[in-house]
Symmetry: C2
């Protein structure tokens, strides 16, 4: 029997080892498949909009869900100003627990895992929504998430060319450098307009906590798929409202996306389609070649649950983890106090 | 500058060492004072009822709060049937984070810390509500939390005698054994009726997830203080409804207590007093010597926040913690992918 008082912990170092043992792209392919499987059984999950604690400079969120057997949650922050202080905009960690006992069974860093699952989720949505034969993606916003997006779309959607733009040329240079040798044709562009030229997929992944207009209406022609990743909290959007009005909009979990997504710009009854219904075939995806499809992505708890369950399975053979003494587990479960008492240091009396 | 990628972690073993370094009773006295200080500045906290995920056998909850500078949350489960499987009914861990950056700054076991803060909270409430000169407490339910309650009331309220009752004589024997040498007069009783004889304070701390009647109306005379600890989720109560109707009821956070506390038996507009207002003097506590005061305790996030902040301060001098590599922190904050890429194992080519 496993020791219930210890919880497997995946550190940042171990996560990086695990990712390399699997391979970055293979891992995102597997994550996308895993998320897709869980989206197929969407009704079997407990769902709630994430619980946000906002401040002037950012947000800290808890994202719980459960499928009745396993419970999971992620802690994640979003602090756009962190970057100027040399810190990550988004950091995260997550936990799985056994619903039957309430005991945690996994603790993991999730900054890296979130980067992977977010990109896998975007590519999964595009696999169902983007125009057939898409080979070129514009990537607007070249920060922490950008390379993951590029590689996920390469591995999952067959993208061959990424066209990069960022307000900061340094960010674009960094992204291009990191993607050299990836097999992608990488085209740094001096403007968003040039980045979207010839792109069938447009990914926006900027981080400012404000109503920004990364894409304006006249930039978007028919037949594209927009993957809007950056807007993910109240007051933070990336797209002009008229793009939304021309698009077929697909979301993860409407009660959360209405609060956090691009559609916070629209009336609360504006029609949207839940992505899980497209995946199961219950709702149509792309209507025709000329439609504009928009995945208004904010990130939902089930995606993290999928990623943590995937991780837990991988740890069975790739044991990149430590054991944390996190759960007090007295021999007699009623005797927590006795356990504490018996742990008292022995006082050695002098002779 | 502290390394931001590492998070101090207090294991169960280190928590027990820390508790013994401070002393169990002194620590509960300090925790009660710390909670009292935070209750005095109640309006400065973000508050939300805890986020519960219920199953047939128990509940898993997240309890977040923030004072605008520090964010904290606790993960806690409640599984009454765990005991039969040799597991703890309640286990917990908690996290503090810096609101300005969103980075976690502390991870700690909280099974033991919750046991201490729950008892400290009960005694703190009794310090404000119990009849003056109370020296005898009935303790109904002699499980994990019972000894902590007894010692907190001894240290904080001057209780000299505890009268024990539990459905299980083994539990009572265990509690009595653990309290031997504590300075308390310990009286095991064969029934709840006998346990409350002569008691000015009645503490109920049972764990069944059902509407139970640990105390019925005819058992409760005037002038007592009832500390109802065990009822803490929907469908789980300990007191007969008519006791509630005869009592002045004090609660932590009404929106949560209405869902989880004894008062779920009452209409949603039944008057209750928020304890923090008694502490600040804004609301009256005990009206007169004959009143029945009831602290309908369910446990609120601010109490855990207080406990975690207290722990964090103690770690400055009592360094009972490890450092966890939990936060991915690349040199260039936009270059998470580059950090991952550079962590790839070096492949040595054969000559």
């Amino acid at each position: 029997m496993t020791q219930l008082n210890v919880v497997p912990f995946v550190s940042v170092d171990n996560m990086m080892k695990l990712v390399h043992a699997i391979g970055i792209e293979p891992m995102m392919v597997e994550l996308a498949d895993r998320i897709e499987d869980d989206f197929r059984r969407w009704p079997s999950f407990d769902k709630t909009p994430r619980i946000a604690s906002h401040s002037d400079v950012g947000v800290i969120e808890l994202m719980p869900t459960s499928d009745g057997q396993t419970y999971g949650f992620k802690y994640v922050n979003g602090h756009p100003t962190n970057m100027k202080r040399g810190l990550q905009t988004v950091t995260a960690f997550g936990v799985l627990a056994d619903v039957a006992t309430g005991y945690p069974v996994l603790l993991s860093e999730m900054t890296i895992l979130t980067a992977l699952r977010t990109a896998a989720m975007s590519a999964l949505a595009a696999r169902h929504l983007a125009p057939k034969g898409a080979t070129t993606m514009a990537l607007i916003g070249n920060g922490s998430q950008s390379e993951f997006q590029a590689l996920a779309f390469r591995a999952i959607c067959g993208i061959r060319e990424v066209r990069l733009y960022d307000l900061s040329p340094d960010a674009t240079a960094k992204c291009a450098r990191n993607l050299a040798g990836s097999g992608l044709r990488v085209v740094p562009c001096p403007s968003a307009e040039e980045a979207i030229e010839g792109a069938q997929i447009i990914t926006t992944v900027t981080a400012d906590k404000q109503f920004a207009t990364i894409l304006s209406g006249n930039m978007i022609g028919p037949g594209v798929h927009i993957n809007a990743v950056g807007g993910d909290c109240p007051g933070k959007t990336e797209l002009a409202r008229d793009i939304l009005l021309r698009s077929d909009i697909f979301v993860e979990y409407p009660p959360q996306t209405r609060i956090e997504g691009e559609i916070q710009q629209l009336p609360p009854d504006h029609p949207v389609t839940e992505l899980w219904q497209v995946i199961t075939g219950a709702a149509p995806g792309r209507r025709d070649a000329g439609a504009i499809t928009l995945f208004d992505s904010v990130g939902f708890a089930i995606e993290d649950f999928s990623a943590l369950c995937y991780l837990r399975e991988k740890l069975a053979t790739l044991s990149f983890c430590e054991q944390l003494d996190m759960i007090a587990d007295p021999d007699d479960p009623r005797d927590l106090y006795g356990m504490l008492l018996r742990a008292a240091p022995v006082v050695v009396k002098r002779a």
